[in-house]
């Protein structure tokens, strides 16, 4: 074996960090898609004039409510009038 196989050591570490980097980029793309979907949902919600009061109830029954403040939680505060009255 050559004594100073340093370039292999760096190659190994480079692969590790590159893998992590790619993983995080994929995660970011996934979150970008979800943000996009939330945005379209909000548009559909605002333009549908009769906000059905059972909207909040149907959604809250399907997931327990009090969410910890996750950094990637995309609960943008709704400025529009009709959607903000619902508290999860």
């Amino acid at each position: 074996m050559e004594e100073n196989a340093l370039e292999f050591l760096f190659a190994g570490f480079a692969v590790f960090w590159a893998g992590l980097f790619i993983y995080l980029v994929l995660l970011q793309i996934r979150l970008r898609d979800i943000q996009q979907e939330v945005a379209t949902l909000e548009e559909r919600l605002t333009e549908s004039e009769n906000t059905d009061t059972s909207y909040g109830e149907a959604i809250s029954t399907s997931e327990s409510t009090a969410d910890s403040t996750t950094p990637n939680e995309l609960s943008k505060r709704d400025t529009t009038t009709n959607a903000s009255s619902r508290d999860a």
């Binding site: 149907a58 959604i59 997931e63």
Partner: protein
């Protein structure tokens, strides 16, 4: 076992598909021998409700008892008491009507199978075509074969999902005679033919967006049957 007068009883039967409540807290009870029409617009959950009652779909919450057997126990004897006629005929098209009934008769372990099969095939008018592979028979005959299969093991309860689909007038007459007017069978049938329903049914269950909005034991002949709010 005391002879209970209730054939089907549900308590808070619910089915959630990925968060959306397809059936929410259905609670009703149907007396033995009663004929109930299950009506409601498309997508109101009729097929899911029948699917849960026939133990094909596991409920997300709540329970039900059919013919004295609890649904959640899901014992095999429970399935001997119910006959099901679904949207599609659910028969083997490569087998002939006789072979289809023979196969299911063996599964249900019916005694003197051949005579029972012959009676049923004659009753639904398939006796002449009993050896032909089911493929070449028309959709109506498939539905009649499925009807014969549902009655094969003399169930106490029949769950029908739009039984008239694909049946010609003669077939519908058979359906009425064999099932809808048969004295001792309890029937819960989802149907769109509301006006026909009043001719055979002595009760109505109306479903709207997964909720039982009307459960009348005796439908009055006026077109607006009294509205009884089912306990939410």
């Amino acid at each position: 076992m005391v002879e209970s007068t209730v054939a089907i009883e549900t308590n808070g039967l619910t089915k959630r598909y990925s968060g959306i409540e397809v059936i929410s807290a259905a609670t009703f009870s149907l007396p033995k021998g009663s004929k109930t029409a299950l009506i409601g617009p498309n997508g109101s959950g009729k097929t899911t409700l029948l699917g849960m009652l026939s133990s094909l779909i596991t409920p997300s919450a709540g329970e039900a008892t059919l013919a004295g057997h609890s649904l959640t126990a899901n014992s095999q004897s429970f399935r001997r008491e119910i006959g099901v006629l679904a949207h599609r005929p659910m028969i083997y098209e490569e087998l002939s009507p006789f072979e289809n009934l023979q196969f299911f008769a063996r599964l249900y372990e019916i005694d003197e199978q051949d005579s029972r099969i012959e009676d049923l095939l004659r009753a639904v008018g398939l006796w002449q075509r009993r050896q032909a592979p089911a493929q070449i028979l028309s959709r109506g005959y498939h539905q009649r074969l499925a009807l014969a299969r549902a009655l094969l093991h003399r169930p106490q309860i029949l769950l029908l999902d739009e039984p008239e689909t694909g049946l010609d007038p003669e077939g519908i007459r058979l359906l009425d005679e064999l099932v809808l007017r048969a004295p001792d069978i309890t029937v819960l049938a989802a149907t769109h033919l509301i006006e026909r329903a009043s001719s055979w049914s002595d009760g109505v269950l109306r479903l709207e967006r997964g909720r039982i909005v009307e459960a009348t034991a005796k439908p009055s002949k006026t077109d607006a049957p009294p509205k009884i709010e089912a306990p939410a």
